[in-house]
């Protein structure tokens, strides 16, 4: 950073005054400090959403001499109100890792060789076209992520579904929130939360369902704790399978055996009905009851297929179904005492308390992920605690645009930007907006993510383009999928910013722009769309993933569908995309509005954001004349589902006697390909580990730091032990964070998934341990 002396003094003067003001006026915020900085020429500040999790914190990125040098929380962003977590504060350092990919590479005679990026793009287009011609349209695929910007995902869908005619479009969000989507769709007929983060300022009770918010959504957890401190009537319950930092800060920690959340949720409903805590006005007016298929399988075999069938039932049928879930019976299944089950039911049932339930991967990465989402909605619906300030069943996401790109743009095999490929009207709408023949859009979905990589292994897919994600670390039962990608006649293109195990299997590597090196939009967990400008230039030949796809599309002859120039493509793409969501149920803000604000919530109707959907006081899409309108379903009602407890795909037995649970830590984000390049974060947690219960460790004869071998039916890894660390699993369970490519825990995990959402369960499989 170049600083002349006078600029430094002026900056010091401003800093002193701001600090003094902070001491005299606690909480004083000076968001417009950026203006002074601009004037002085020291650091210019521009808004952006944070690059990491799905919370969607607003940040201000400080730039000096063309380099991003600082980050501070954006006080104008209602999500975080000026706060950041440790990842956010250090985020700009991820742009400048020493091994950043800045040039395209192509595999020639087995070696990766640097080539001009235009040559690499020519090769990609040529290979894609020839593969399609020789093996058919469904032999080519694109796999992206919830880190795709909205324009990235939009052009991917337009090219592959609209132009090439294949539904081979998937994203890693299938691995993190597909069950949330199917939960919403089956309970409400429309995706994404009805509430918003403002619920935290109104709720009296927070129940986290298998969700370590203190580490995974720390800014939101801080907001929850701040509410507890400020107000006297706030209680936090952590309901989980292991003790974490969230448990430590909660008022009460309740542990359950893996998979038995299904039984506990049903027992809570049983108690609510038994004690007549049902909100009958709400239920009679706004709820209908249903059941679906049972014994639905686990998807561990290739070509697994399942279709649920809804059948209407009465309230009495539902009540009868719950007879199997008395607290006393469920205590035996779950390990949760009947007293604790009754306590939680009483919190939900007390009409004087506002209750918000939070969940994320614990409920979604679950072989009955759709069901457990349904069951938590059941609880809220029975007591009518939904869609009002503070009463909120709230599904959080893990990626910055899992909602914005994957769920809203629809970068999943069955989806379109509006609706699904199976629906003729939705295909017609897409064809018209995309300017392609409607026959181009195939009405049949192809492969969900696990099956897509199985198809790559089998050879049904020959060409795959992977952008912004690292499946060679994240796929469960990893060895099969890595071996598949390495087979001779597979062609793998990877767009990324750093070398990863996925670039290791690539035939072409494209250097990608990262975060604020490009213009784009993300969409966070609370229906908030967040625009960011290109704040610094990408290094070398790196270009946005959007523009990479456009370059290939033009080479394939689709200039008409991709007519934009690099000067204006993001704004033009946005305005085209938002046509899909016109109307009060999902109206999006204009490009010009997004540029000005630190995020805008949809539906954005007549210049007004919608905080609580389905509530006639807040939601302009409500038309039934009642206080609530669950308009996603044809009967305008929310659906309560009778969903039973069914065991996990693989449970501990005499040979493999431990549960394996995997997840994240606060310092690292996902596979660590970015955060491990940030020295302060990498040094804080430089490698992965296995958390052991102290008694299990003693039995095994292992102390902290000693190596432990984790063995499953699929593979094994050897990894250092951590005992009495930040997390403590119960006896019979181990936990391993997946951020470290040196310890690929997914060699061990099982590729079983929820048959409805097709989302794998990374939280439960059986392993045995050996002292290494």
């Amino acid at each position: 950073m170049k600083l002349n002396r006078r600029r430094f003094l002026k900056y010091a003067a401003a800093s002193s005054a701001v600090a003094t003001a902070g001491a005299i006026f606690p909480g004083a915020s000076f968001g417009s400090w950026q203006n002074l900085s601009n004037n002085s020429g020291l650091i210019s500040w521009q808004k952006a959403p944070c690059r990491f999790c799905g919370t969607g914190c607003g940040v201000l990125v400080g730039v000096s001499d063309g380099r991003a040098v600082a980050v501070k929380g954006d006080p104008n962003c209602s999500v975080n109100k000026g706060l950041c977590c440790m990842k956010g504060y250090h985020s700009v350092q991820m742009l400048y890792g020493k091994d950043r990919i800045t040039k395209a590479k192509v595999r020639k005679d087995g070696e990766m060789v640097e080539v001009p990026i235009q040559e690499a793009l020519d090769l990609i287009a040529d290979k894609l076209q020839k593969t399609k011609d020789k093996h058919g349209k469904d032999s080519v695929a694109i796999y992206g992520s919830g880190q795709w910007t909205i324009p990235d995902g939009y052009v991917a869908s337009k090219l592959f579904k609209g132009c090439l005619g294949t539904n081979n479009v998937e994203a890693n969000a299938r691995l993190c929130m597909a069950s949330a989507v199917t939960g919403f769709m089956t309970s409400f007929g429309i995706d994404e939360p009805m509430g918003c983060y403002e619920d935290m300022d109104h709720a009296n009770v927070f129940i986290t369902w298998g969700n370590n918010m203190a580490e995974m959504h720390p800014v939101l957890y801080s907001r929850m704790l701040a509410n507890r401190k400020r107000r006297t009537n706030v209680t936090i319950i952590d309901f989980a399978t292991r003790s974490t930092r969230t448990s430590q800060a909660a008022d009460k920690s309740i542990l359950f055996r893996p998979q038995t959340d299904l039984a506990v949720a049903n027992a809570i409903c049983y108690e609510i009905i038994k004690n007549d805590w049902v909100n009958w006005n709400f239920v009679n007016e706004h709820v209908s009851f249903h059941k679906g298929k049972t014994n639905i399988g686990y998807g561990t075999e290739d070509h697994f297929a399942f279709k649920d069938k809804a059948e209407g039932i009465s309230f009495e049928d539902f009540k009868l179904f719950l007879e199997d879930y008395t607290p006393e019976k469920v205590e035996k299944i779950s390990g949760v005492s009947a007293k604790d089950i009754k306590y939680m039911a009483a919190l939900y049932g007390d009409p004087s308390l506002k209750v918000t339930s939070f969940w994320c991967m614990g409920m979604n990465q679950h072989t009955r992920g759709t069901w457990i989402n349904n069951l938590v909605y059941n609880i809220h619906l029975l007591v009518g605690k939904i869609s009002t300030p503070g009463n909120s069943p709230f599904s959080l996401t893990g990626q910055p645009s899992a909602c914005g790109t994957v769920r809203e743009v629809g970068t999943l095999t069955h989806k379109l930007p509006h609706g699904v490929v199976m629906n003729e009207h939705h295909r017609e709408m897409a064809a018209e907006i995309w300017d392609v023949p409607v026959a181009n859009i195939d009405p049949k979905p192809t492969y969900h993510t696990v099956e897509m990589f199985r198809a790559l292994d089998r050879g049904d897919i020959k060409f795959i383009w992977i952008q912004v994600t690292n499946p060679m670390v994240t796929m469960p039962n990893l060895k099969r999928y890595r071996d598949g990608a390495l087979k001779d006649d597979r062609f793998v293109v990877v767009s990324d910013v750093y070398p990863t195990p996925t670039t290791d299997v690539a035939d072409v590597i494209l250097p990608a722009a990262l975060w604020v090196e490009q213009e784009g939009m993300f969409g966070n967990s609370e229906r908030r769309t967040q625009h960011f400008a290109e704040i610094v230039k990408p290094p070398g030949d790196a270009m946005s993933d959007t523009w990479q796809i456009i370059e290939v599309a033009k080479r394939l002859g689709f200039e008409k569908q991709f007519p934009w120039t690099q000067d204006d493509y993001i704004g033009k793409i946005w305005e085209e995309y938002r046509k899909f969501h016109a109307g009060p149920k999902h109206e999006m803000a204009s490009y010009e509005v997004l540029k000005k604000r630190s995020g805008v919530q949809w539906p954005f109707v007549d210049g007004k954001e919608t905080r609580w959907r389905f509530n006639a006081k807040h939601d302009p899409a409500c038309t039934n004349g009642k206080d609530f309108d669950f308009y996603g379903k044809k009967d305008h009602k929310a659906w309560i589902w009778a969903r039973p407890y069914e065991p996990a795909a693989e449970s501990p037995d005499s040979e493999y006697n431990f549960w394996l649970n995997t997840g994240r830590v606060i310092e690292h984000w996902h596979t660590g390909s970015m955060t491990r390049r940030i020295p302060v974060l990498h040094n804080a947690v430089p490698s992965s580990y296995v958390e052991l219960n102290p008694e299990d460790a003693a039995e095994l004869g292992v102390v902290n730091g000693e190596m432990v071998k984790i063995i499953s039916r699929r593979g094994e890894i050897t990894i250092p032990a951590q005992i009495k660390g930040r997390g403590i699993p119960p006896r019979g369970m181990v936990f391993v964070p997946f951020f470290d490519e040196s310890y690929l825990i997914n060699e061990v995990t099982l590729d079983a998934f929820c048959p409805i959402s097709k989302q794998p369960d990374y939280k439960k499989c059986a392993v045995r341990l050996e002292k290494a």
Partner: protein
Amino acid sequence: MPIFSYLAIPTSGAKEILCASLATLPHCEIIPSDNQEVVVLVTDTPDEATEDELQKSLKNLQSLQSLSLAFGYDDKKKKGR
């Protein structure tokens, strides 16, 4: 060539007027608080005479209740003149 920073406290309800007034004065830059009745004022004047003129202008602002010095630097004083 003095550089000073102050906390400028407006008279009741006059923060916007104070900001507008300060913004029109030469050698002044302001950072209003988003949520409190306080404005950070940074002054950077080329010489003592200009500084004196600025001080007079500040004293004449009706919307300004008080100025609290937070930081001060003066080249001349540093050189012992």
